[in-house]
């Protein structure tokens, strides 16, 4: 694989790789480091890269493995606060504040999920992969992906409903 080919096929994945890394590693710095490290690895293995039919799935699998290794290496509990810029809608201010709160609540809720469910939520609801692709990336059966995804979605929804009903403390 030549440099231009690499730049055209692998480099556009950098945001997806970064977002998955951040979902798992939580901290922005660690996710950035992981992305750089992963791209360095991909670049080093660029000759082997064209043997893979689905380079994207391969890159995502590598991301998953690398991040899980990182997590295993130092069960890091340093949950640094993540800054996100949410877009302003035209809803009234109070509603907007409430929404902002619950949007960041969603982030916290996803962070409490098990790693597998986190990855599946990320790949499905953010990156919009098909179940088959997610199964390939995570080395799971598509039905297993579906079950885990349903479990994750229900957990988040229940927590959100609870919070919505009792109001924000």
């Amino acid at each position: 694989m030549k440099q231009t080919e690499f730049l055209n096929t692998v480099l556009p994945l950098k945001d997806k790789v970064y977002r998955l890394a951040k979902r798992l590693l939580v901290s922005r710095d660690e996710a950035e480091d992981a992305t750089q490290e992963l791209y360095f690895k991909l670049w080093k293995n660029k000759k082997k890269l064209k043997d893979y039919k689905n380079v994207e799935a391969f890159a995502m699998t590598m991301t998953k493995n690398y991040c899980l290794d990182q997590l295993k290496a130092k069960r890091s509990n340093n949950l640094t606060l993540v800054h996100s810029n949410y877009k302003d809608g035209n809803i009234s201010l109070q509603k907007e504040m409430e929404l902002k709160d619950s949007v960041s609540k969603v982030h916290e809720l996803i962070a409490t999920l098990p790693e597998k469910q986190k990855m599946i939520i990320q790949l499905r609801d953010v990156e919009n992969y098909e179940f088959e692709e997610i199964g390939k990336i995570l080395d799971l059966q598509p039905t297993a992906v579906r079950v885990a995804l349903s479990r994750a979605r229900k957990t988040i929804r229940e927590q959100l409903t609870k919070q919505h009903n009792y109001g924000i403390s």
């Binding site: 750089q36 969603v106 579906r146």
Partner: protein, 148 residues
């Protein structure tokens, strides 16, 4: 999109039975402003997913990591080695002065003379010893009375 349809889709969504197209419909619906009040928690969820998708990797990706290059070090070492050998061999030749040369030649001559004297005297001694040996043989013949 009518509300009943959305609610229907949401139920499917919770069971992870929606297709990507159906999820896109949901995302679209919750991106609008008039969301039914009892579905507001879903709005947070889908807003979060949309926002998250916007997140970008902003750092640069260095493809070639800089590795320390030490190839010049070997050249430098060999140059130093060659220079040092050249300098030391030169200085050795330089240290021999004509006087020293003369002295050394004198010493060589003296030594050769001494060796010559020793070898001449050793030769004399050798002849005497051989003469003695023939005496010894005569005596032996007398004792054993050989047939001769």
């Amino acid at each position: 999109m009518e509300l009943a349809n959305i609610e229907n889709l949401l139920e499917k969504y919770d069971n992870a039975a929606t297709s990507l197209q159906e999820e896109a419909i949901l995302k679209e619906y919750f991106a609008t402003e008039d969301v039914a009040p009892h579905l507001l928690e879903y709005k947070a969820l889908f807003t979060y997913f949309n926002n998250n998708k916007e997140e970008r990797f902003t750092k640069t990706i260095p493809l070639k990591r800089k590795q320390p290059n030490f190839w010049w070090l070997s050249i430098a070492a060999s140059v130093v080695l060659m220079v040092s050998i050249y300098v030391s061999s030169n200085s050795e030749i330089d240290t021999i002065t004509p006087q020293e040369q003369e002295l050394a030649e004198q010493a060589l001559k003296d030594t050769q003379k001494a060796f010559q004297l020793i070898s001449q005297n050793l030769n004399k001694g050798g002849n005497v010893a051989i003469a003695g040996l023939s005496e010894f043989e005569k005596a032996q013949n007398k004792v054993f009375k050989t047939e001769q």
